[in-house]
């Protein structure tokens, strides 16, 4: 049987080697798979790793793609640090986008600069409220939050679907399930790069993502609530001994992550779509789970993990378009990349031992 045994000391050098080794391993494994399937491996790898970084507009695309992932993952970091498993950020994202869209569509003629902040606020609240359902089920009935949050994601998607096809549909949309466009005051505008001007789809929303990361770090490491989250996740018993409440922590992290997911939904729609449609996410809520873990649940790490995952996504799209590689294969390749990255991170803290099957569970760690 294979077991993971915690390392007594971890080498800082390994922290540097690990991601490099993971990418190398991915390149090798990917090359084998692409060759085996009859594609030009070198070209495929170029489209995955080089092409997304080859031009300034592709880099900005990367940042735009990473923006919702970063915002959602920042909230998830708090949940996972507290050992609360919110995997329904997708639903909270959709409800946030929906609430903000409803507000924008309620004032089709407004030019007020207050519309955007109001949309952000309502998206935060709506996302948090959606997560609050799971929080209450957990704290009152001890319902498993993994199931509740996941199932509510599908409910949220259907709510969006029903409203976009029904009450919110634009009568001028020729029967397409689309709402009218938001008023201009409800759109996040494109952001020029100093000295370069407008590049790709780069918009002001990315600033929110980059500003939130240090803020989340501060909250987690420089405030009492952040400390509570870390303690409750690491040793709930010590947390109760300190006088912290498990229920309040559960509710707090779920509201925070739900709110941020809702905000991400609002930013994405206002910056990139401009109207509601049945599908406003692209699995961001689920992909962000990977981002949070890839970042080792570190808010600053979330920025880098978000960009890396965005690169894998865009690289996959590139490879599909340029070489006609099927979507499942690019998905497989992304999976391999994440597998090696997470394995490297795990092996940084654990070593593998092989051992026979022993009954001796107390002493299992040392008997081999």
């Amino acid at each position: 049987m294979i077991r993971l045994v915690p390392r007594t000391e971890t080498s800082p050098l390994y922290a540097v080697i690990s991601p490099v080794a993971a990418i190398l391993a991915t390149v090798i494994a990917g090359a084998l798979i692409f060759t085996f399937l009859g594609y030009n491996a070198g070209e495929a790898l170029y489209h995955f790793f080089i092409s997304p970084l080859s031009r300034i507009d592709r880099i900005t695309d990367l940042v735009v793609k990473a923006c919702p992932l970063i915002i959602i993952a920042l909230g998830l970091v708090f949940c996972y640090r507290a050992n609360i498993w919110n995997i329904g950020a997708e639903g909270q994202y959709i409800i946030g986008a929906l609430a903000a869209g409803w507000l924008a569509l309620s004032f089709p003629d407004t030019t007020s600069p207050l519309l955007l902040p109001a949309m952000m606020a309502i998206a935060l609240m709506a996302g948090a409220a959606w997560a609050a359902i799971a929080a209450l089920c957990k704290t009152i009935f001890n319902a498993n939050e993994i199931l509740v949050t996941l199932m509510l994601s599908y409910v949220a998607a259907l709510v969006m679907d029903v409203l976009v096809r029904g009450p919110l549909r634009d009568p001028m949309a020729f029967g397409f399930p689309l709402t009218p466009m938001y008023p201009d005051a409800g759109l996040i505008t494109r952001m020029p790069l100093p000295g370069i001007g407008y590049v790709g789809q780069l918009h002001y929303g990315v600033l929110i993502a980059f500003a939130l990361a240090p803020l989340a770090w501060w909250l987690l490491h420089r405030t009492l609530p952040g400390f509570q989250v870390r303690v409750m996740g690491s040793s709930p018993r010590a947390g109760r001994f300190a006088g912290f409440s498990q229920k309040r922590t559960t509710i707090g992290v779920l509201l925070l992550s739900g709110g941020l997911a809702g905000l991400a939904g609002m930013v994405e729609v206002s910056a990139n779509i401009g109207q509601l449609q049945p599908n406003v996410s692209f699995g961001y809520g689920f992909t962000a789970i990977i981002v949070a873990f890839l970042a080792r649940l570190n808010p600053i790490g979330v920025i880098f993990a978000g960009l890396l995952v965005a690169m894998a996504e865009l690289g996959g799209d590139n490879a599909q378009i340029a070489l006609g590689i099927p979507k499942v294969v690019t998905g497989l390749f992304k999976g391999i990349l994440l597998f090696f990255l997470l394995a490297g991170a795990t092996l940084q803290h654990y070593r593998i031992t092989w051992r026979g099957l022993h009954i001796n569970k107390e002493h299992g760690e040392t008997s081999s």
């Binding site: 007594t8 000391e9 490491h221 420089r222 405030t223 009492l224 609530p225 952040g226 400390f227 870390r230 303690v231 690491s234 040793s235 018993r237 010590a238 109760r240 001994f241 300190a242 006088g243 026979g356 022993h358 009954i359 001796n360 569970k361 107390e362 002493h363 040392t366 008997s367 081999s368």
Partner: protein, 511 residues
């Protein structure tokens, strides 16, 4: 002929030398004690003997043959058996099923049950092979572990701190069994730090200190004091048994528990029934009892982790605090030290500074408004942590290590120091020296005496009778969720308390 000898056994972990050229030998049919403080290298040594670890240097000679013991399975084949301090039994399975799981050779259950009956009759280890282990007391579970070893006809039986979980009476019964085993020719390697047990039981004792064999003694020809000195390396400060307070001229009680009831939280928890106690400033109330008789439940109720149904059930300084949580109780000067160091008193993967902040966060707030209180963060406790580390003489590998990087004794010194630094008026201390080396234990006990002298009312929950006797002014016992009345320590003998702990009523105990 020597059964087993170890020659120049050396084992290092990184730069730490756990065993340094240890020489050791054991004769068949002898009871041989392995004595040493926590961290002296006892466990490392026996783990190598049992094949769990491999020595870096040196060799083992078993019945005249030099060999490497590569696995516990091989050790068992040679005839080496070990009873660990923590049992590895499945509560839901019966005694026979548990034993069957541990037998290396496949044996049929029906035959095994017969053999268990025979062996338990032969050795006087009364046990019914068909009872689920979950229903057995700790002493009975230990018997299962011993039986499991005996069924393999060992030539050498290793016992790791076997009496740490037993009542005094149960210990005596265990000693009988061990003596009979030895008479039968089985060698017993008995690991302990309890000197009086070794005096009573062992024919020979090997003492380890800092990974080295620092002496072999014949306990009968030595004294506990001599052995302790070899073990610790310098003269031990024996804590004198304290004189009882004279209640007439001591201050009125500052802390009281009035008829506290707590239903069992789970099938494995003990309900508390009508707990009543009072402590005066300067007094140490010792609560004796074997773990699992409601100690944890009581400690949680006193710390505020569990809130009493009625506020009046717990009184501090005339105020009813039964409904107040841990933070409010700390603010009023009530500090607790839980039994479990890692994961309860401290967060294992957090630093010392963060662990200071854990119980003192409210004292680092810059103001009293809600917002200001939220802006406290661990680094503010850096100076306080340094002060605790200095005052409590905590040895740290570097300036701010994680709690799990400290040895048990050092972590406990830190936790005690954290409690002392708040100058509490009432302190509830659980098993303060459990698994702690003699040096740290002495420091901790001395700190408790000093704290009482300074006027703190102390409740000491401990299953170590020596400790209760050494420190407490009054003694009560907790048995199955009930607390006996307390008596002045000077009026009680160890036997009285043993009986009170074992559930015999006080009248009988004192008869």
């Amino acid at each position: 002929m020597t059964l087993l000898s170890a020659e120049n056994i050396t084992k290092t972990f990184g730069t730490f030398v756990a065993n340094d050229r240890v020489n050791f030998s054991i004769e068949p049919g002898s009871i041989h004690a392995l004595l040493g403080e926590n961290g002296a290298g006892k466990s490392t040594f026996v783990k190598m003997l049992y094949g769990v670890l491999q020595p870096d240097e040196g060799r083992f000679v078993w019945e005249g043959q030099t060999l490497r013991i590569t696995s516990p399975k091989m050790a068992r084949r040679l005839g080496i058996a070990m009873v660990f301090q923590h049992f590895s039994l499945f509560p839901a399975l019966t005694v026979a099923e548990n034993i069957a799981l541990a037998m290396d050779d496949e044996s049929r259950l029906s035959g095994l049950r017969h053999r268990i009956r025979e062996a338990s009759d032969h050795w006087g280890l009364a046990i019914n092979p068909d009872r689920p282990v979950g229903e057995l007391s700790v002493g009975e579970q230990q018997r299962v572990e011993i039986l499991r070893c005996l069924l393999q006809d060992p030539k050498l039986l290793i016992m790791d701190e076997p009496t740490s979980v037993l009542t005094p009476q149960e210990s005596l019964r265990l000693f009988d069994v061990l003596r009979r085993l030895a008479d039968d020719g089985c060698a017993i390697l008995y690991i302990s730090h309890k000197l009086d047990e070794i005096m009573e039981l062992a024919g020979k004792a090997t003492i380890l200190r800092g990974g080295e064999n620092v002496g072999e003694v014949i306990p009968r020809e030595s004294s506990t004091r001599d052995m302790a000195e070899i073990m610790v390396g310098n003269a031990v400060d024996w804590i004198e048994r304290r004189k009882s307070h004279n209640p007439a001229n001591s201050p009125p009680p500052i802390f009281a528990v009035n008829g506290l009831n707590r239903p069992a939280a789970s099938a494995f928890a003990t309900p508390l029934r009508d707990i009543r106690l009072e402590v005066r400033p300067g007094e140490i109330l010792g609560i004796a009892g074997i773990s699992g008789n409601g100690q944890e439940e009581l400690a949680e109720a006193l710390s505020g982790e569990w809130l009493a149904p009625d506020a009046e059930m717990i009184c501090l300084d005339g105020r009813n605090i039964g409904h107040d949580g841990p933070e409010q109780r700390r603010r009023m000067g009530l500090e607790t030290v839980p039994e479990e160091r890692n994961g309860h008193a401290a967060v294992p993967d957090m630093t010392m500074v963060e662990n200071t902040f854990l119980t003192q966060y409210f004292s680092f707030s810059s103001g009293l408004s809600w917002v200001q209180r939220q802006l406290a963060y661990p680094d503010l406790g850096r100076e306080a942590t340094d002060a605790i580390i200095r005052a409590a003489d905590v040895r740290t590998p570097h300036s701010n290590p994680m709690a799990n990087q400290l040895s048990g004794g050092n972590l406990q010194k830190f936790i005690m120091g954290r409690m002392l630094s708040t100058e509490p008026r009432v302190a509830v201390i659980s098993q303060p020296t459990w698994g702690v080396d003699v040096g740290a234990a002495t420091a901790i006990r001395r700190a408790l005496l000093k704290l009482a002298e300074d006027g703190c009312a102390i409740i000491l929950i401990s299953q170590d009778l020596e400790e209760i006797f050494g420190l407490a002014t009054r003694i009560a016992a907790l048995n199955n969720g009930r607390l006996t009345e307390s008596h002045p320590a000077t009026d009680l003998t160890a036997e009285d308390i043993g009986l009170m702990m074992g559930g015999v009523s006080e009248e009988e105990a004192r008869a």
